[in-house]
Structures are given as C-alpha cells and as structure tokens.
Symmetry: D2
C-alpha cells in the first residue's frame, strides 16, 4: 500500500503553487505532501492545514476584544492562553495528515475521538503485503515490575526466534489471505474453480502488524492533547514514533504555539495538593520523610525524582 499512481498524480497536481488569501505557514508548505518515514514501512504526511499562529491571536482578540490592546505581543498572548487553559483559540487551527501505520497502532490512535478519519477499507479493497517488524533496538522484553513497560531488548537465540515467528506468521497469513480471496487480473478469479471468499471476511486472517493507512484531521487543541499523551515516555514506542514525527510538523506550522506547548504541557509537571504542600515544606527547610509527607511511597519516589533529589529511602 505505497502511494497509488492516482494519489501520486493528485499530489503532483497539488504541489503546484496557487495564490491564496488565506494565512499561510511557509515552513509547513515547504514539506507539504512529503512523507516523513516512521517505523519500517510507515509515514506521516502533512496534507492540508488551516490557520497559523496569527489565527490563534486573532481568535483570542475577538474573545477578549478591545481589552487586549495592551497584550500587544503575540508570543506573550499565546503563552498566556496555553498557561491558563484558554483552549478555544487553538481550535481555530486545523491540520490533516495522511498516515500509514500498523493496525495495532491504529487501534490505540483511534481512541482519540475528537478527530476526523477516513481509513483505507479492507472491506472494499485488498491490503498490501507490508507488516511491521521491530528493529533490533526495539525488540523489547516485558518489564516485570511495570505491566505496561518494556525491559532490555531481546538478543541472541530468543531474538532470532521472535523474528522468525513474526516474519513467517505475517507471510503465511498474508499468503492465505490472497489464496482465500482468489482474485486474479481484471477482477477475474485466479482459480476459475473457486468463487473466492468475500474481502470483508478474508481480512480477518491478517495479523495486527499489517499496515493500514488513513487521513486524519484534527484541530490544534486536540492535537496537543493527543501529542501530550502519545509523545510521553510512557506511551508505547511505536505510537510515540508517530507523535514525534508530527511534533516536527507542528513546529513548522505554528512555532509560537509549539513553544508554549513544550513549556506548559509536554515539559510541565503536575503537583498534587499534597505534593504541593510537601514542596512548600521542603523549601522552608523542613527535613521530611515519606511517612510524614502524606504521600504514598510511590508518589513520594515520583516527587523526589521530579524535583531532582536523590531518593533517600
């Protein structure tokens, strides 16, 4: 499922430049339609967008009216909006991506419901023979301490065996998929003695690492929410790789909003009510133990790590 000749032709046509009166983001235009490679066969392609940093400022100024004369600096205003959770001005920007991704990643991704999606349908069409196989540095063992975590990478015989199983099972299930479909050239059956199983049924024999693709469109506020969850170190590596590719496009598209996002969201930390009290007491010079803190042992460890203090217990 690489780009179809039709898609490629469409894109060539669109690459031509046309005058517009809309706000334009030149740095994003420079890579529009370009696939950014992700994983072994996937990509993220920025396809279309609406609005720029200026649109965020313009919307905020309609909301706050003549009252914002003094907040004359755009960067400061955007940071103010992000800091105080004024989310609606960010919703005035919209972006559309073309994404190629393994189905198990697509299933995590789609849980974000505030986007518009058009996915390639295996009910109508035949999927291509492309499967995700992790690179050696991502073939991770199960963490024993953290149920959703990964431990060190697999090596040696165990790694070899896993690769063999993943590759063979993907290849075999795909081969059987095409055999069951029995589709030949020009829509004729490959084997005239067989009818061929319905596409909507045959697809069920494919494994979850086969690649699908979709158009995915979202506003900037909701994209930031997606990225704050999926570019987080706790996110599964495979979806994080997509989030990181998208971060690059956001940086080109709305650089001021991107910077504010790093400062007040992605790099920010939440202190619980009790955690805040602990910080105040520590700053006042109090020597505090976990037992005195009101925090659970786990929260205590997490807070000390956040504050860059050696874990004393």
């Amino acid at each position: 499922m690489p780009l179809t000749p039709e898609q490629a032709a469409e894109i060539d046509a669109q690459r031509a430049q046309t005058p517009t009166r809309r706000a334009v983001a030149p740095a994003l235009e420079a890579i529009l339609y370009e696939p950014i490679p992700v994983l072994d066969h996937g990509f993220v392609r920025p396809m279309d967008y609406m609005g720029t940093d200026d649109s965020i400022v313009q919307a905020a100024r309609v909301s706050y009216g003549r009252g914002t004369k003094r907040v004359s600096e755009d960067r400061g205003l955007i940071r103010y909006l992000m800091r105080h959770r004024h989310s609606t001005p960010f919703e005035m920007c919209e972006i559309k991506y073309h994404v190629k991704l393994p189905i198990f990643v697509a299933r995590q991704w789609i849980r974000h419901r505030t986007a518009n999606v058009n996915e390639y349908s295996a009910r109508y069409s035949v999927l291509d023979n492309e499967f995700y196989i992790p690179a050696p540095e991502h073939l991770a063992a199960q963490s024993r301490g953290n149920r959703q975590g990964r431990a060190a990478v697999l090596t040696g015989d165990e790694a070899q065996r896993v690769y063999a199983l993943l590759r063979e099972d993907a290849a075999r299930t795909y081969r059987h998929y095409t055999e069951m479909l029995n589709e030949g050239a020009e829509g004729d059956p490959a084997d005239p003695a067989r009818q061929g199983l319905a596409r909507e049924l045959a697809r069920m024999n494919l494994t979850l690492n086969i690649y699908t693709q979709w158009y995915w469109k979202i506003d900037l506020h909701n994209l930031f929410h997606f990225l704050s969850l999926r570019a987080d170190p706790n996110a599964q590596y495979e979806i994080r790789a997509y989030a990181e590719a998208m971060l690059e496009t956001v940086k080109r598209w709305v650089p001021l909003a991107y910077e504010a996002f790093l400062e007040y969201r992605l790099g920010a930390a939440l202190l619980s009510a009790t955690g805040l009290k602990v910080v105040r007491r520590l700053l006042a010079g109090e020597a505090l133990t976990q037992a005195e803190s009101g925090l659970s042992p786990r929260e205590w460890r997490e807070l000390l790590a956040l504050l860059g203090r050696p874990a004393e217990d």
Copy 2:
C-alpha cells in the same frame, strides 16, 4: 461592534495573495473576508477554509481504495457519498466564519455542539450599542395554531407600539449599562466619585437583541447538518437568514457537494415506514382514506401535501 481598526488592518494584510500548495477554492477566495449583510446590523464573513470538492473525493478514494477506479467521475462519487450517508469524506473540509448576530440568535446557534467557537466576551470588554429591530415585514404575530409559528405581520398602531417598546427598552438598558460601568477615556472612571460596576455584572442589564460576534469553525458534514435544520422553513426567520447567507458561501466553496446537499438533504423528503406503504398503495391505484392509512390525521395531511395532492378530507 463593527470591525475594529485592528481587525480591518489584519484583513487588509490577509487580502494580499500568497502562494500555497494547498487546494484552493477560487470562487470562495473571491469573497474571502467580505461581510455578507444579515438582518439590520449583522453579517457572516467567510474567514478561512480547508479543502475543496477534490478533498472529499480524495478521502473517499483512500477509504475505498483501488476499488473505486470505476467510479471515476467526481460528481457521481460525491452524490453517491451523500445519498448513502458516507459522512466522513465531507469531514475533511473545514470552514471558519466571523459572524455578528443578536444574542437570542446566538443562543439557538450554539446548541450545535460540533463546532469551535470564540465569542466576544462582555466579561472583558464593553459591548457596542447595536440592537436587532425586526424589519416591518418580519414583525410577525404569534400563530394561534402552531406554537412555534408566526402568523401575519403586525400593522398599524400595534406595530408602532411594538417598535417603540423595542427601541426604547434597548436604548434605556444600554444607557444604564454604560452608566453602571462608569468607564471614561483611557480607563479612568467617567465619574470619579463612583467605582463602576464590574463588566461581568453590568452586562446582565442588556436585552437579548443586542449584537455579539464570534468566530465559528466547523467541518462540512456538520455544517450541512446545521444548514439542514436552520435553512429549513420551520426555523426561526432570524437564524434562517444567517443559514441562507452561509449557503451562498458553500456553493462557492464546494459546488458539487452543495448540489448533492440540495438533492439529498435540503430538498429531500423522509417517508415513514407507514407513509411508504401508503405511497405504494396509492401508486397501485388504491383509493385510500386517512382512516385506512394507518397515519394520524396530521401525518396524513403532511403526506398529501408532500405528494402534491389536494387534501381531500
């Protein structure tokens, strides 16, 4: 609350044409940023958009993949999508309007929750002295038969009295609003002996026909849903006037989708299960009465009207 000098300057800047690689809708570009007058002081201005008819087709082709080679004609494909309620390709298009409208209209409008909104805030800023007063041909009496309907227009003394009341009450409440605010030049109090009531409180003295304004952004699928309800003859005239202005912009933006919308939504009719049976029996030549139809008297009348038949009962 006409356009502020700042807004006007922004718009001038944006009217300059810049090259883009995005899909462009030339007929909409031609009126971008232009206010379309609505009611006595209101307007609808298309401010930004994303996607064209081509984007709908492109999204449908990703979904239906190589399977759609035969449906080669864009117009046919768009009509097919609309007819069969395949709504996601229409969601790939997005539009943003700047709207100036009376608050009682804004309250109906905002019930459509699938849009992004930035409204002028009377908590932060002072509203302008502009109120909606119906034109004589819209000063309608209450329908006695239909609770949400209008009857003939008011005339003579009654009309004069209504105009006087609407105008005087709007003027007086606004005058008192500014008196309570006590705002002078440069943020100083008008009357130094008084503090001035908080803006967020003073606004409560204004009547529901004062004008507000907002940026409103929505995808094409949800816009069609909005328009199918608000451009309907049963919608209140004042919001219908806005819907009709927007229809003109949609026609310029996505002419094929617009045409399909008229055919399969705005001009279409829903037959209930029983209504469908009645039509079949009528076509078979049966002479049917309401009592035999299985429809309520009201549904029977509505069906006959829909079918262009004289109401026989």
Copy 3:
C-alpha cells in the same frame, strides 16, 4: 476471555435488588447483566442504564414548557420528536453494554465516536485463545457486482479449505504469541532461559478475528444513529448481528422510542428532491421512463424497488 471470576462475583453482587428513586425500566432490569450470545464466542450484555421513555417526555416538556399541555399523550409526543428530528430529549437516556467481539468488528464499531469505551488492553494483559470462525451459512463469497457485498456461500472443497486456513492460522499465531510471551505461572517465565517479548509487541502476531471485549456507553440518540447504520441490510453481517442483539435490549428499555425508531428511521425511506418529483408525477398518472426521470439508472432502479414496482427497464 469469558467472564473472569472477579467479574462474575461483581455481577452476583449487583444482581441483588436495591431500592432506588430513579426511573426504572422493568423489562430491561429482567435481563440486566445477562449475556446475549452473538456469533460463535461473542456477546452483548446490558450493564447499566439511565432514563426511560418517561425521561424523554420529561425533557421534551422542559423544552416546550407549559405549551405542551395539549400534547398530553406520551406516545404521540415521542413519535413527534422522532419525526421532526428533535434529538435532544433522546439524549437524556444512556445505556452501557459489555460486548465481546472480534477485533475486525471492533474496528468498524469504534468509528462511531460519540460513545465512551473501555477496552480490554492487550498491552497490559494476555488475550484468550478465542477466534471468530464464520458459521457455514455466513462463509460468503465476494460479490462481483457490489464491491462491499457478499454473494452465495462457499461450499465443498473451497469451504473446507477456507475453514482449514482460518483455524490453523489462528491457532498457530496464538501458539507463537504465547511462546514469545514466555509467561509461566505466578508471573515467572515459562522458560527461564528466555526473557519473553513485551506484551505490547507480542500481540501484533494475532489475527484480526481474535476476540476482544469492552464496555461501551452511549446515549439513546447516538445509539439510534449507530443502529440505523449497523442494523441496515448493507452493514456487514458480523456487526449487524450485534446491532440486532442490541435492538432487543432497546425494545425492553424504551418501548415507545423503539417503536418510533422503527417507524421513522429504520423502516423509513429518503426520497431525493428529484425522486420526490418522480413520485408526484407517477401519482398523477404520468408514464415515466428513466430517461425522463432525471434520475441516474441506478437511482431509478432503487426508486422503483422502493415503491414496489416491477423494474421496467
């Protein structure tokens, strides 16, 4: 992945009856928590609900206020709301299901974004060895005329071969999944010489017919939208089977709304603007051909079928 002992215990506890002042739907209470079997290993279980037909009426009366004294009959009011697309009163009812379903069905289902979902996570836990294998009467061939349709069922050697492939591939990929996981009793590795692949990676080797499960919660208006699409004859059989099971629960829960839904949605028909003109002309006795109708050949055939007329062309 049948019910876990924990889930079963929870359910026993919940089956005890407790007094409530909320509106109660006795016919739904009678089957609460009961799994309705769907496909070979799946089910739909109504788990919780809020509101009844009375809640719809109550909400409509708040909206329409004292004005609705005359529309005193609940059934008539609910039908009126459904007929005139007054959707908000139906949103006052909410239902929660526990559903067990194959992943390829879950992927269609999740495209309805207006619901709340908690899905079993194969990132955290190990999936059970249960796969969907179509019953013989559902092992359908690909339709040649209709890309998304099914033709006659497969039989004989072809059917045997398809069954063998589906069963063997599911069994083999699952066996390899557990081998890669290397999980033994009590969280110890099965083979101490191996670390075991991370669960979040190993799952990618499973085929799309493995069963997953989720809690799915939705309001009645959006449930009707889901059911109108998924209980439709054009929906894929496997998801339609779930929609039909849910219809039974809706009938028990809100019988008046259910009846109105059948009349004005599921059994209703949409006439396009041109289709409506054709019906009027036919009723007026005009002998009309497709060429004169303004409809495409396909729309003409569909209209005649809808009207119960022999296709004359």
Copy 4:
C-alpha cells in the same frame, strides 16, 4: 418559572422507591430531586445518575484485565487513574441535573460542549418574571488591574443606584414583553384589538439576568473538567456558585473519585518546564532572582505565591 404542577407531580411519583439491580449511590439517592438553592432564584437538582465509584473500578479492570489483581484496593486504583489521566473509566458514570439559572450564566455554561442539554424554550412558552439581582456582598466593582476581575463591593449611593437600575429595567422590559405578547387566559388575546407579537420575537426584549432552566446531562470525566474550570477562584462568582452546589452532589455520588479530584485536579498545581527548573534550583539552595529565573515577572510572582514564599521583588 418555579416547578410546574406537572413537574411536581412527576417528582412525587419518582420519589417512590423501586427495586433496581443497578449500582446505587445511597447518599445521592437521599437528595435526589431536591433543589439545592443557588443565587436568588436559581437551583441545581440532581435528577438521575448512572454508575458509582464501583463502576469506575469495574471499567478500569476490564481495561487492565487480569493484570490488576494486585491493585486490589479501589481507592488506590481510582487515585492512580486520576493521577495518570486515565480518563475513560470516569466516563462510565453519568449524571443529569435540572438547573435554573440566569441567561448570562447559561451562556458561559453552554460553552462546555460535551454535555446533553434540554432548555426551556421561550420560542414555545412564556418566561416567568424572575431576574437575578446580586446580593449586596456580590455587587462588585470592576477591577482596574485585572480585566476579568472584581474589586471591592459597591456601597452607598452607587450601590443604591445600581440596584434601582437593575430592578427597574428588569421589571419594565418584562412588563413590555407581556404587553407585546398580549396573551390572555385560555390562549385568547388579552386585548382583542391586538394580535400579539410572536413569542420567538417578544423574548428579545428581556434582559440577560432573566432566569431560564434546563436539564443538563454529562459524564463524570467531563463534569470534572467543567468543575475544574468553574469552581476555580478565577471563574465568575455567579457560575462558581452553581459549580460549588454540584461539587456537593458529586461528593455524595462518587466519594472516592471526588477525593481524587480534589487531590489531583482542583487542589493541584501545574509547574511549567521553566518553573520546575526554578523549584529544583531553589531546593538546591540557590538564591534566585526573577531575572535569573527565565520566568516573566508575572509568572515569577505567581510561582512564588504558589510556593508560599514572600514576594521579594
């Protein structure tokens, strides 16, 4: 617009207790249907609900499956979910309120789009003669430093004058509203010589402090979002009063989730990336000035206030 006799009768009927198999929240049941007074004529009434703390736990356990055996304690699990932004289990709970509130509050409230609403319609029915007039302790002056803030309360002549204006304008506009409507007993015109202005038009003469009412239904996750914004000290007092009344109902409904919400949301604090660095340096004993901090003067002041340190600059 107090409760209508019809509504009161409905409520009496519902107060009777019926057995249910659903999860029940006894402390919320105890006040179900009871209006909690807010402002001078408003109220919040919990009308219906679905789910309890147990439903949150149950949903989390379906997601995390057998893997959560060890997190056996419900309170700990709910706190974990809240801390780590796992929002979907909270979406399994739903609540419905009946709220009576001034229109200018309703306009702020409705910006939260993730709820279901049925509002009393002044298009269909006549509004009652009830207006919000602030209590003396809430008749606040405009803050000069903070555009959206309030300063000290108005007193003396200025307060008297504001009260007179608010009361007289509300009374006069309402009197003219009823005059324009010209509605007498039994739907007859009060003055037979006049037709009466359509209700949908006459309402525009009312001021924004008139009371309206609605049913408002929302899931617990989105309710927490609403409450985190509207129970915040920066929210306008009039909407905060409603948020605080709702907090009491949430405490009765889902006490464990409520406690976690106070700890990790309402009482929590967000440190920006730079703010976090500052805290680390302060804890390391560094004497830091605003200029060295990388924070703007305003952010510096806000951080010191948060940390309970005297503002040194």
